[in-house]
Symmetry: C2
């Protein structure tokens, strides 16, 4: 990192000229930054957003757009799903850890209904339609789906299943244009602009500026090769995203993710985390990662997933991000999908948002023994896996992994195998430890004066597991908190 | 953490009285601190060690005493084992990651032979005897054994197997009295004292002291309720051990290890890491953990280990710490041992350092089907696992996990099962990122002036995997480096 500029804080008394000034300065104009800007401005602060690219949106506008919400949102109710904050909390506690921040999860669940209404009030559109089939996203523009394995083992028995993946209505399915992420961000940015939030683009932060009491009072940034100094009279909000594209940080914290970033953008270089660490900020769960698995969930649910020993290891009808995490973290990134012809035909007849993942199998065989041999698995391994699976499947049960009855069918012949080794990617979930007001905490435990953060530069509601929508969810939720808290600071 | 004292640095210009002064001030008198003290003193520095307990030793003197060394040490040669630094490096790179610090591993392997000779020169005794059976430690006072799975799959095919667990000769087997750890530490402390190293006990560090250039020039500590200020003219060496006993840090970084510390001491509260983080120090691999598995390796090698699905998941003849890591990290801490009567009798006839782990089985049965049912495993799972294992074992092979032929025997009847769920514990391996001179690195990438660290408050040669002896190994090796580097600083 010696070629990169220092992230050590600068001293305010050494700054002679302030190029920009505002009450609240926000670094990053993705979902956390936009929500912080709106709330800070509404609270009466003069707000300036610094964005390193040429436009707003961040990773959010490139994403699918899921926001993880529940507890009885208007959309859940309209579609006939019952949920409570307590029920949502049970699921999130069980599925997103280990090590979840219990206070943050509780707070998030309690505020979830209001947060949905707030998003709607800013103009984010949600279509009253439910997508109930396996998938990374709905096949069309439905507004609600299961996005975390809520209705699969083991969580279906821990909390009452309720879909919580809330998806802004897309205007077409091309992600990055008017996909769900764009349709989330556009209204938020429009709202911010209409309120008078100022934004400067092509400015990337490099260091924080502190006064003699170590209070954060601004940022040093770079614009077209020039250093600029930005004064923040009330506070600085870091909303700069993950460290998925910082190779040194990935090596130091999440080596399994090395060279496999996904669902992220190159600007996610961890700068927000590092400038705060330079002030003694506490970090948490730096090894946690969302894991994408490049496969069609419509196929996975209808087959069996086996590891390099030919053993089943994950409920196939769960959220495919869980399949990805189990594969990368617990199976050394080695996995195979096995399906018979009938199941494959059924899968191919379904709709899916990821039909491009429907690749032909690597192996096709007339018998399990033949497939096992072709796949190079030790003799007897896949055969006994299928034998045990079929024995129970004939009775519609799966005592090994408790796949739901609707997906449990004996595997016949002919059958095929897909090589899904190294088929994962992901982004990082670890980051700055923040309190419920999005204040950045020092390793001493108390907040760093003048410094706030939200989004994927913080450790949020996910500390181990993941559900689609939790990143835009806690980013937007705690982005709002950051904006409010920073604006409430006295000058 | 709000009740704990702040770890924010103090400013030197605010200190009016220095209670102690030395060229090099070392926090912690375990193995890293002792080695740092010896080298700093020999390099001409006036050295003061601050130890928070009433006596020297730290976790090292309570430990088994293994030091992981190789590349052709005098002891390896005397016992007929061939090894080279390159071969050792191949093993360590494969076994201790992912994400190993390649430069540190290379450096450590290159210096390993010299480091062994140095330990001998300080008076650490090693008996020229090899223990070749499975075990956590030798059954007697042998000086060398395999301690990382070097001679098991998959490493036996990656690097030429060589034992590298070097064990100081115990005077009796009671750990903490004259066990291996004591016999390592006693000569080191005697050497330090004979050189004139000063030590003050019952002093615990609380904060670092920095000058106007943010250079570390001392520590604030506490002794019997009083604050004391200690000036370090050349440098401060942090050698305060792991964070195994800091519950908040475990929650934030290694939640799987919550409430299960082992092979550690309560003083390991992460203070060295936190005072350096308050200065912007970089940390690395905070999720990594050594995992102890409370079981007799003589039994494990002779049986099969299965997970909660009745599936084998780890080569049973490997280092039992690897079995523990695989169990805790990849099998949700759920594992069972299955052995037939003949194998159990053979195991019980062996010598072992942990005969107290030889508990009676939880289940005994006449057939595999009966055992499977008694253990509550889904029908067919354990039966097919044993069936596939036996089919290959009859030919002396184990294509599933490549257990060595000598341990592969068909499982007959009667047989028994041991419930090894929640049978793990461990200590943390993550910590401060240091360079090859043990300088603590800032998140900017450059060293923090005046600050050095070694031992388990640093991220060392292990970033994911583990081998017995690597902690005392890199603690002593980089402790020496820290002492030399600190002493070489100009006043």
């Amino acid at each position: 990192m010696s070629e990169t500029p220092t992230v050590r804080p600068a001293r305010a008394n050494a700054i002679t000229t302030w190029d920009f000034e505002a009450d609240v300065v926000i670094a990053g104009y993705g979902v956390a930054g936009a929500c912080a800007a709106i709330e800070a401005k509404r609270a009466g602060a003069d707000v300036l957003v610094l964005e390193r690219t040429g436009g707003w949106g961040g990773a959010a506008s490139m994403s699918g757009g899921f926001i993880y919400l529940g507890g009885g949102t208007a959309l859940q109710k309209a579609l006939g799903f019952e949920d409570t904050p307590e029920n949502m909390e049970k699921f999130m506690t069980a599925a997103l850890g280990p090590g979840v921040d219990a206070a943050k999860i509780h707070d998030y669940c309690q505020g979830s209904v209001e947060h949905f209404d707030w998003l709607v009030a800013q103009g984010v559109p949600f279509k009253e339609a439910f997508w109930g089939e396996p998938g990374w996203e709905p096949a069309h523009d439905e507004g609600l789906m299961y996005s975390g394995g809520e209705n699969s083992a083991p969580f279906k028995d821990i909390a009452t299943p309720a879909p919580r993946g809330h998806l802004p209505q897309m205007e077409n399915k091309r992600i990055g244009e008017k996909g769900g992420g764009y349709m989330l961000m556009k209204p938020l940015i429009d709202t911010a602009e209409s309120l008078g939030v100022r934004a400067e683009f092509d400015i990337r932060i490099q260091r924080l500026i502190v006064d003699e009491d170590d209070r954060v009072v601004g940022v040093v940034a770079k614009r077209y090769g020039d250093i600029v100094h930005v004064r923040a009279r009330r506070g600085v909000v870091l909303a700069t995203g993950s460290f998925a594209y910082n190779q040194e940080m990935i090596e130091a914290y999440v080596p399994r993710l090395l060279n496999r970033p996904a669902a992220s953008i190159e600007e996610h270089d961890g700068i927000g985390i590092r400038v705060a660490q330079a002030l003694g900020a506490q970090v948490a769960h730096m090894d946690a990662a969302e894991v994408a698995f490049f496969v069609d969930p419509q196929m996975v649910a209808r087959g069996i997933m086996v590891n390099a020993r030919g053993q089943r290891y994950i409920t196939e009808d769960t959220y495919c991000g869980r399949v990805g995490q189990a594969t990368l973290n617990q199976q050394d990134n080695k996995a195979y999908l096995v399906m018979d012809e009938q199941a494959l035909e059924a899968a191919l007849a379904t709709e899916s948002s990821v039909t491009f993942f429907r690749q032909p199998p690597k192996w096709a065989a007339e018998t399990v023994a033949e497939l096992e041999s072709d796949m190079g698995l030790p003799e007897g391994t896949l055969q006994t896996t299928v034998e045990v699976y079929n024995k129970h499947a004939e009775k519609g049960s799966d005592p090994l992994l408790d796949k739901k009855t609707e997906w449990v069918k004996p595997i016949g012949t002919p059958l095929a195998g897909w090589d899904l080794r190294e088929h994962t990617g992901g982004f990082t979930l670890g980051g700055l430890k923040t309190d419920l007001d999005s204040r950045v905490l020092h390793v001493s435990g108390d907040p760093i004066a003048g410094l706030y953060a939200a989004g994927r530069c913080t450790s949020g509601v996910c500390t181990g597991g993941y559900a689609s929508g939790t990143s835009l969810g806690d980013g937007s939720f705690y982005g709002r908190r950051a904006g409010k808290a920073a604006a409430a600071q006295q000058d």
